[in-house]
């Protein structure tokens, strides 16, 4: 769309939806910020040595990030089979590619931090609450509950990741910050897909609201526990932790699910 061509906001809604859900759109979008990177960051960003205690805390944080990304990878791939239309199926296939990349670069980052066996370390260190969340999400997917699974994965989990990664990137070492900033660019699509897909569903079938509200009640505790744990490892002040909690709750509130 060269300068002087029609405004993008003049597109018909259906044309917009078809464009942004497409693999073609995804491919050209990620090319903009991943081209030329190595393991998720610019190769010219130099490693900054970390004190041992800080490195240990960062490894634990990455262990939690890996559980979240694994949950989203397994969830998104399972959801393709029950997605209600081809646009959602194609979009989820791009999300699967994103989540696989996130998991790969996070494991790689742990190796950079001198972790010999990242998978074993995730088993040992990751938040129990996040692991329970992952199990519950996969139950919802296995139960073919599209709305509840999209809510758990693309609204709750992705909103939490978006808020935490954003905050962490501001204070992280240069390599971790660069990796996270590129992951955040993917997360925008994931949170938007979840909120808009569920918003459309709720508008057309308001009776599902009570069921989703129940799921929210069940998962909120796990998510907020995981947030508190991760915030502790990131050494965030209480006020920053509260701000993160509010950021996470914003999207669910826009969908009409209050605290």
């Amino acid at each position: 769309m060269p300068a002087g061509s029609p405004d993008i906001h003049d597109l018909e809604p259906q044309a917009f939806l078809e464009e942004v859900h497409s693999f073609e759109f995804w491919f050209q979008a990620v090319e903009g910020y991943l081209s030329g990177t190595t393991w998720g960051h610019r190769p010219d960003v130099s490693e900054q040595p970390l004190p041992d205690d800080e490195r240990e805390r960062l490894i634990t944080v990455f262990c939690n990030y890996c559980v979240g990304e694994t949950a989203a990878l397994e969830g998104a791939s399972g959801l393709i089979a029950i997605a209600p239309n081809h646009l959602a199926k194609v979009f989820l296939s791009t999300q699967v590619a994103d989540e696989g990349r996130h998991l790969e670069v996070f494991y790689r980052r742990m190796r950079d931090l001198r972790v010999v066996d990242p998978e074993l370390e995730v088993e040992r260190r990751a938040s129990r609450s996040l692991q329970l969340f992952r199990r519950r999400l996969l139950e919802l997917v296995a139960g073919r509950d599209w709305e509840a699974a999209i809510f758990a994965q693309n609204v709750i989990l992705e909103s939490l990741e978006f808020a935490v990664f954003h905050d962490h990137a501001r204070t992280a070492d240069p390599v971790t910050g660069d990796v996270l900033r590129r992951v955040i660019k993917d997360e925008r699509r994931h949170i938007g897909f979840g909120e808009n897909e569920l918003g459309r569903r709720l508008a057309n079938a308001p009776h599902i609201r009570a069921r989703i509200g129940q799921i929210k009640k069940e998962l909120d505790r796990l998510v907020l526990d995981a947030l508190e744990e991760t915030a502790r490892h990131l050494a965030l002040a209480r006020s920053d932790q509260d701000r993160l909690g509010r950021a996470y709750l914003e999207s669910v509130e826009r969908l009409g699910f209050g605290p």
Binding site: Q28, E195, N196, G199
Partner: protein, 104 residues
């Protein structure tokens, strides 16, 4: 976008015309999260000190600044491609500022 009379002024500093819409020539600001052909319609919010132009609103979902080639008015439709949201421009009575609300 609504169909209304427009004045093509090109230069954003030229000032809006009452009852008409000022046109803006959008330039790529380096926003790299959408395909090249769409990049000029979005920019990053630079935080405290940043100001929205009359053709800009913030996406409430992903916090990116959405830009239009025309002055925005309440009721206009805008799209946030980075997070795939369809939005409607509304006037916040309390602040007097334009906002975008998600239209599911």
């Amino acid at each position: 976008m609504r169909d209304e009379a427009e004045s093509v002024v090109g230069d954003p500093s030229a000032g809006a015309h009452e009852g008409e819409r000022q046109r803006f020539i959008l330039e790529d600001t380096g926003f790299d999260e959408v395909p090249k052909k769409y990049r000029r319609f979005y920019r990053k919010w630079k935080g405290a000190g940043d100001r929205l132009g009359p053709n800009e609103v913030i996406c409430p979902v992903c916090k990116v600044v959405i830009r239009s080639s025309r002055t925005l008015r309440p009721g206009d439709r805008v799209y946030c491609m980075p997070c795939m949201s369809r939005l409607v421009v509304v006037l916040n009575d309390a602040t007097g500022m334009l906002e975008a609300h998600v239209a599911y």
